[in-house]
Symmetry: C2
Subunit: 720 residues, 2 copies
């Protein structure tokens, strides 16, 4: 790619970005769109605009910048604040590196007279500013070696500062005086078989009462809620349907036709006899309500699983219990800190120890295969979805497809479509796989899935693009002599060639990506379409604009990809640094706006994402350092071994951070929960927070029912 | 080695063993030797013989066999019982494998007609009974493949059973109703700097009182005892010397010379003026006593370190506290279960977090270098200690050394002597290195050192002997193309050739080793020499026969070497199995006798050695399986890939065992300490058990001294 086409693509992207910002400015001022641009405020019951009318089109930037970390924590939680720590850490690394590297390396590279550059007419002026322009064995390489150290040092220093800061944030949030139900509970899994003559509930109660005599409050046995949940969902569905039908019916009562038209529907999807919707729904709701009650009773009594939540009377006791090995056989009575009620994955709680281990192993194998060989099924599918096959399967497409223009386009793009569909579905697949591991909480699933996605994009996008051109050529060479050195060489040799590609990639990513993010064009269009054609009731409208959360599972790995790219090219082609700064700077601004006004977090993990981000920035740093070692040796720089200590030092740093910080993220330190809570905790409310919604409507007959999953007292307890 | 020389060496060893047994039978019946052969009983205050006079020479075998595990636990503790579980597990593996393999594999190998065997005159009749006799690609190899699976299966099954059993033993011992001080205490390290206006003691007390309000009993700040310990040791030394001088003086008062001769000595070693020993000692003791008191006061007040023991009022609280992360910064206030008072390594307690990590890393590097390159310094030293150099340095040796016979012998053996001295010192070096890591308890140091010794002997004795012959030839080949496959091939190719060597090695080891062990000739001789020429007082005699403990640090790795050897040859040359059975059978008998009557364990770790033994038996199994894969492919057996699942399965098994059992060895499960103790624990006595001996004589002035390391109450406490 030469300079002019690079500049063209850059300008185009920039214009698109400006258009997006203008659209945002225009649309966000219309009151009707406040649910799209200020849903977070509406959900929190605030006025969406707060004196907005008079403000300038760029007031949002000022608001983003002036908002403090405390604002973010109070509005969007610690997880979001930690995400901004991540963004500003990377920004800090890039700004400080750029300030030193750009004024020093660009002249050094630009004034060098490489033989390559002169003879090779493919050299663009961009490449003249990169290390590629420096000739082999040149003493100028010392500057680049020093720069490699500088970038590494900045990265480690910023990471260290950030880990300390996040650690503080987490500690402060955990020790906050508000009552958090999850701090009073632990999740117990792998409870052994119920002994003869005891109920599960009695077993759990007596076990924990004997071990935590003074602090045990009560327990809740986890039940298999699949059936009852289905009925409950059905009930919700019919209630919604009823509300919708009634709205339609009310709307049809025009002045011209005061009796209205009662809406009708078919009994099942597309077939069955037609019935009056309102009557039908009412009938169904009645049946389901009684069915729900029976199933609730049945679930609570008969479907008790081998796991339970155990509640304690104070935070210290629960925290301490969650970290203590309970049973002699450590594969029974395993305890962990209870997840927040809203992020519990109920269906995973019942999984047994070995089932979880097995599932984890299987998932790892599947993910490894997907990451390494995902092209194989794609190729297979795209081979299958040729035009010919399509025509055979869907004959009604024939008249359209046979048009010559359509045919050409389709034939050219069908294989890519398969790939795009796969890439779009990949995060969902990874979420599904992570869930299948048996992880009990949503935030943990997001972390697991984000990790898998990171491996995927680093391997396929970054290393894939870099090497793919030369891979086929060199694959035989690699197989013949697959040593580590070869891989380092390969990386070093090919990376610089793709510099311009990645420059464009980063630019595109932030102009288009953040433009779309800020303008929220897609949710805007979907919402307006839904409201116009689908939504009949207030609840449906509300559902249509529900903003969702920031979606770390794909956002973080994508950001990390950019970190990896920019770090790797930071010394080879320092011009990439401003693009990186722009990406994280604009990202910080736009997401700050979105966090303050749009997204509503669906869970809070108190910054447990941080060690993952930290670890992966370090991984990016090590990839960068290894690449540099390779590139220096390709440049036949005699002193390239001086770069070898860098990755070793990074690994030591990683181990040290793990030793110093990780355990306080993995567990809650006792120190942070020893602060007194503001109010005396209402233990009953804490307990009720953990009752799954589908069972919450169940009324107990306290006098009769002992030993069922939710009962207040065990037999021994009730005799008091 | 041909068959006849093998038989000769076997017979010789056997005769020596019989002689040892006879010596034991003869010596152990003499009452004067009871302190050598029954010290354990004497220490426990039992009658050493219990009607021994009439019994047969082999009564000890009957006693060993009839003693139960409970006997062993009550006499020698859980650690010894676990060692016997280890011995009997290996014995079980070998007996069951042997029963199946010997009758089936020996005929299959013996009747094969290998071309190699016929053409190669070096083949001994022993080798005719091994896999070496089976020709390439022979279908007979199926039997050996099957045998590989059989041995693997037996090993895994026995290990699983043993792990379960040891787990039970540990649980039972930990939950025993007796009061164990270490179950009421935790060791806290890395306490941050003392805040302004507080003493260390107050800091610790207030910290733990706030976190464990109901269960905190008191704390004891660890002090730097180096100085006070030195004075205390000196004091002990002079008291001993005084007792000895008085005994000599008393003995000199014969009827002929009733006034006696007062013993004299030089003030310092070999020089200084002569003084009267009794007076001198009395004077020194007086000075030291007052010096000790001053130094005790000084130590307790001024030399407080950043670690402490914290005592709790019940076992559950202490167990739970030891497993809970306390501080937000996990490198401060780190907690672990307190070691037994008798096995605390005081000088390690004060080490800081990063110092410990750094020391550990350095020690690992040193050990790795020692294991891999120990031959280099040895070669260097032996080059230096040539006869010529010796004569130069120690000229008085000249007349002796210049004798032609002596010269020949010395010249031949001097390099070996350096090696032997190194090997004899190695366990001490490894113990020293493990201690230098900053480990707080003796049992942990023994485990760490035993692990290091295992790597050393496996790498150097086993793999070293196997490969050394061919190594120099193949070293270039390896360097050129160091793939895993090459190493497997190398192992497979060379191992069978050393079969006879290792057969002899195992035989020698058990005949001579256990013969010496049973007869206790060395301690016997040393004791009698000491008693005759050195010991003057009762205490000195007692010290001379103190039996010491079983010394797992070298015993376990040596046993594991035999396990590795026997497992590796079990299928290649099944004749080795009976030797293995004999080794572990005789070992079991002899050590049972020694555990019951001789050794006195110096600590109790409740079987924490087991996971190490288990892991290393598994490592031996994997070495065996990899060797077999290599050997099958050398035999050009088409179906050798069928052996590949074996090591994979072993690794899965190892991971599973780790997940299932390890945590209950690493920590004390809460379940086992919830049993009520027999008596109400005397907390004061528990606390006193942890006062180091050199400080125990210190008298407190309770009314004045607050905030010093051992004080009973902090200011807040004393106001009650």
């Amino acid at each position: 790619m030469d300079l002019s086409s690079f500049l063209t693509s850059l300008t185009t992207s920039f214009i698109i970005f400006v258009i997006f910002v203008l659209i945002f400015t225009w649309l966000s001022r219309k009151p009707g769109n406040s649910v799209i641009y200020y849903p977070n405020r509406i959900v929190r019951g605030l006025e969406p605009y707060e004196g907005v009318r008079t403000r300038s089109p760029f007031a949002w930037i000022k608001e983003s910048i002036t908002s403090t970390e405390a604002d973010i924590i109070s509005i969007s939680g610690v997880d979001t604040a930690v995400y901004f720590v991540f963004l500003s850490t990377v920004l800090g690394i890039l700004v400080s590196s750029g300030t030193l590297l750009l004024p020093s390396l660009l002249p050094i590279a630009g004034t060098a007279k490489s033989k390559d550059a002169n003879s090779n007419s493919n050299f663009t002026s961009l490449e003249r500013l990169s290390m590629a322009n420096v000739e082999e064995k040149s003493p100028r390489l010392w500057a680049f070696l020093l720069a490699t150290y500088v970038v590494s040092f900045f990265t480690l220093y910023m990471l260290w500062k950030a880990y300390n800061h996040v650690s503080e944030l987490r500690g402060a949030a955990l020790s906050a005086p508000g009552v958090k139900p999850e701090q009073y509970a632990i999740l117990v899994r792998d409870i052994p078989a119920v002994p003869e003559g005891q109920t599960r509930k009695e077993q759990v109660d007596s076990y924990f009462r004997s071990l935590h005599a003074d602090t045990f409050y009560r327990s809740m046995v986890v039940t298999d809620n699949k059936e009852v949940n289905k009925i409950w969902e059905d009930l919700k569905k019919y209630r919604k349907k009823l509300a919708r039908a009634e709205a339609i019916f009310a709307a049809s009562k025009t002045t011209g036709k005061p009796e209205g038209t009662r809406p009708m529907n078919k009994k099942s999807f597309l077939c069955g006899e037609k019935v009056d919707t309102i009557d039908y729904c009412n009938k169904m709701i009645d049946t389901l309500v009684s069915k729900l009650e029976t199933e609730q009773k049945n679930t609570i009594r008969e479907k008790q699983q081998s796991s339970a939540f155990v509640f304690f009377t104070n935070r210290i006791a629960a925290t301490s219990a969650a970290q203590t090995i309970h049973a002699k056989k450590v594969d029974t009575w395993t305890v962990v800190e209870a997840p927040e009620p809203r992020q519990i994955i109920w269906s995973n709680l019942k999984m047994k120890f070995y089932q979880r281990q097995l599932r984890q192993d299987i998932v790892y194998v599947i993910v490894a295969l997907t990451v390494l060989f995902y092209m194989i099924p794609i190729t297979f599918i795209s081979a299958f979805t040729t035009l010919k096959n399509l025509k055979k399967i869907l004959p009604f497409l024939k008249p359209v497809v046979d048009q010559p223009e359509v045919k050409t386009v389709l034939e050219a793009y069908l294989p890519q479509v398969a790939l795009i569909v796969f890439l779009a579905l990949l995060p969902k697949l990874l979420m599904f796989l992570s869930k299948a591991e048996g992880i009990p909480s949503l935030s943990h699933v997001v972390r697991a899935s984000s990790g898998k996605y990171f491996y995927f994009i680093i391997l396929n996008v970054f290393i894939g693009v870099t090497i793919s051109g030369t891979l086929l050529r060199t694959i035989k060479e690699i197989q013949k002599d697959a040593t580590f050195k070869k891989i380092v060489d390969l990386l070093g040799k090919n990376l610089p060639l793709s510099a311009t590609f990645f420059l464009t990639f980063v630019a595109l990513k932030f102009f288009i990506g953040y433009g779309l993010e800020l303008s929220r064009l897609v949710p805007f269009i979907i919402f307006h379409l839904k409201r116009k054609y689908l939504c009949k009731t207030e609840a449906e409208v509300k559902e249509a604009w529900a903003p969702g959360d920031i979606n770390y599972a794909t956002r973080v790995p994508n950001d990390l990809l950019i970190v990896t790219i920019v770090l790797c090219y930071s010394v080879i082609a320092p011009v990439i640094i401003p693009f990186g700064v722009a990406y994280f700077g604009v990202g910080w601004l736009v997401l700050r706006n979105q966090a303050l006004k749009v997204y509503v977090p669906s869970y809070e993990s108190y910054g447990r994402m941080w060690p993952h981000m930290h670890g992966r920035i370090l991984a990016a740093l090590i990839i960068y350092q290894v690449t540099m070692i390779g590139y220096f040796s390709i440049k036949k720089f005699l002193y390239s071994p001086f770069a070898i200590p860098l990755p070793i030092f990074s690994i030591i740093f990683a181990l040290m951070c793990r030793r110093k910080f990780y355990n306080s993220f993995r567990y809650t330190p006792l120190e942070v929960v020893c602060a007194k809570t503001k109010e005396t905790p209402n233990l009953e409310a804490i307990y009720k927070a953990y009752i799954p919604p589908c069972l919450s409507s169940y009324k107990f007959d306290e006098t009769q029912e002992f030993g069922h999953a939710l009962s207040a007292f065990s037999k021994t307890g009730s005799s008091v």
